[in-house]
């Protein structure tokens, strides 16, 4: 049904689908409005004609929008279903939000303040807050989920490209809310493995001291 494959493309498609229909309807309404205002200006059209209504027209402009919005709903729902079903083989990272920083705990036992992930591997983030509500948001990946103190939410993605992307806090959380930024850094598989190895060594060295 979707003309594109990745999650990002699906979200963008749903957005463009709704935007295109909306823009067409807005244009129709606006052009008609302006056209009528000029065509039936009181200077040209001294006497108005009364039209009390038209049931067929009312049915037409009730049914057509219903069909259109059901289409919009469908694309939104399909994207959401994908976003809420992480693959079973996902790599899991625990994310803790607190005023005003992020902490990432890896299954190997070390933790970081920047999220490093391997390219092309599904990553599931288990989200929890140490204090107030936050929201974990990666604009480039089109994903966001609230980070709450009393429940564990999750989020997953599969990064297609390497690079560094912004992570923002999207739920207002006080004084330094707008500075609660970090990065997600997507590495190639081999880069990620060597980064991980280094981290494990460091953390076990830290424990030894």
């Amino acid at each position: 049904m979707f003309p594109s494959s990745t999650y990002i493309e699906k979200v963008d498609f749903a957005f463009l689908f709704i935007t295109a229909i909306s823009a067409a309807l807005l244009l129709l309404v606006t052009v008609l409005m302006i056209y009528f205002v000029f065509k039936y200006n009181h200077k040209k059209n001294k006497k108005a004609v009364n039209i009390h209504g038209s049931v067929p027209l009312e049915i037409f402009w009730t049914v057509v929008p219903i069909i259109l919005v059901l289409g919009m709903f469908y694309f939104g729902w399909m994207g959401y279903s994908e976003a809420s079903n992480p693959p079973a083989n996902s790599m899991e990272v625990k994310v803790t939000g607190q005023m005003w920083k992020w902490t990432f705990d890896y299954p190997e036992g070390f933790s970081t303040d920047t999220l490093y992930v391997p390219q092309g591997v599904p990553v599931k983030l288990n989200l929890n807050s140490a204090d107030v509500n936050h929201s974990f948001y990666i604009p480039a990946f089109r994903i966001k989920r609230d980070v709450l103190p009393n429940r564990e939410n999750f989020l997953w993605f599969n990064a297609e490209k390497t690079g560094s992307f912004d992570v923002a806090c999207a739920e207002y959380c006080g004084l330094r809310h707008s500075y609660m930024y970090t990065k997600v850094i997507v590495l190639t598989d081999s880069d990620y493995e060597s980064w991980k190895k280094q981290k494990i060594e460091k953390s076990s060295a830290g424990q030894a001291i």
Partner: protein, 551 residues
Amino acid sequence: MTAHPTGVNDVSYLEYKGKHKGLMSWIFSTDHKRIGVLYLISMLTFFAVGVTFGFLMRLELIAPGPTIMDPQTYNSIFTLHGVIMIFLFIIPGLPAVFGNFFLPIMIGAKDVSFPRLNLLSWWLFLIGGLLAIVSVFLPGGPADTGWTFYIPYSVRSGTNVMPALMAAFILGFSSILTGLNFVTTVHRLRTKGMGWFKLPLFIWSLYSTAWIQVLATPIIGITLLLVVFERWMGFGIFDPALGGDPVLYQHLFWIYSHPAVYIMILPAMGVISEIIPVFARRTIFGYKFIAFSSVAIALLGSLVWAHHMFTVGMSGTAMFIFSLLTFIVAIPSAIKVFNWVATLYKGSIYTDPPMLYALAFIFLFSIGGFTGLMQGALSVNLHIHDTSFIVAHFHYVMFGGTGFGIFAAMHYWWPKMFGRKYKMRPAKVAFWLLFVGFNVLYFPMFVMGWLGMPRRYYDYLPEYTPYHRLSTIGSWILITGLIIMFYNLYSALRKGEKTTEENIWGGETLEWRAKTPPPLENFEDLPEVSEAPYEYKENDLVNEKELEEVH
């Protein structure tokens, strides 16, 4: 009919001398018109404060990094901007000001059902409003929680959250009393011959609104009170540290606050439905469809609250239902828009200031509605939720919609209310500045929201600078328009041309049969009604069959 003391209806409500003199004759008056004017003055005062805060926020955001204030001040300012604009401007803007003034006149009544409750509701409004303002100056500083007061932050914040909560609580009662009065008045005080389908559409929209005010406002009242107890005594209903659930708070908050959005927009739709037939000099297209769509919005609008919480982590079933209903609630609004546009067809159109505002309403409200659809789609919502996209969306609906609706109402009814005419040229200049300024101010927020600019941000990443800068420039254009508009209306009161003309615009609803300005009891003799509103009988009539042939 001379059942009243002589002279009551010889002078206008502005000149009438009752028990009290001077200021007292206003603040203790139970006349619905004087109460309407009291609301108008207090609402516009609060609006000026709210605009000032909005202006300061935009100025802060003109460049990244600290510009004119620190983050704590910014956080308080956006909180107060929200609280003031929502509870003190938009909610009372049409029902309490123009509803109070015109509802009894338009159904041919002398006053509302409970005039003393009506006065009490204004006093509560004033007390609530002053409490919100006073909280700014108390030690501890103004609340910094956002107008949504989300827990746990609102329990932890050291600022004056309590006075702000109490203010909102008291304002809720003011709103409930107004709603109660309107429901009763519409049921009991319609004049002879004024059947339900002869009611002006503004009355239909006020009636639907009044039901939401009565049914939904108590929920926010009790919820805010629970937050007060939570802060005060540690009840543990919402605070997770005490075993409560912050998501429960969000549900209760939006069960009111989403219907409240319709409290805000429905009366504005009513105003537009009044203005368009009058300035097209023809009957309205699809009266019953517009009337019932108000009721449908009131009903469906009560069932979509959780679309404010799509990122909170709800079950798939809840997500499915709330998203679907969110799309369905768009339909009655669309029906209204199509009927308004169809009403222009074959009219004899006058583009006086009220009509300009009404046409701008249709355009801006449509953009607000369409961008609402984008957020109703779940996958898209997960991206743009809590970004400046939503800020743009609700300003298009609430300001471009309701705000422009209030301005339309002011320009439509001002001469009737005060017996003075305003100048047309400055009114039109102000309109165009407002329209252009509005779009320059809010449209860039859609773009940067889609690009990932979160809302309620004191500072931002450098790539968003051009959009923020453009938006700030828009705020200057908008404010210039506001100043010209208000100065023009104000100087009309001081030195505008006096008028006693009853029917200034050629309307056919009952307020245009009352004297200008209306006397204490509105009419010498209560009018009888035999026609539906907006009949314009001298026009040629095209019935439905002929119309089908045209197409």
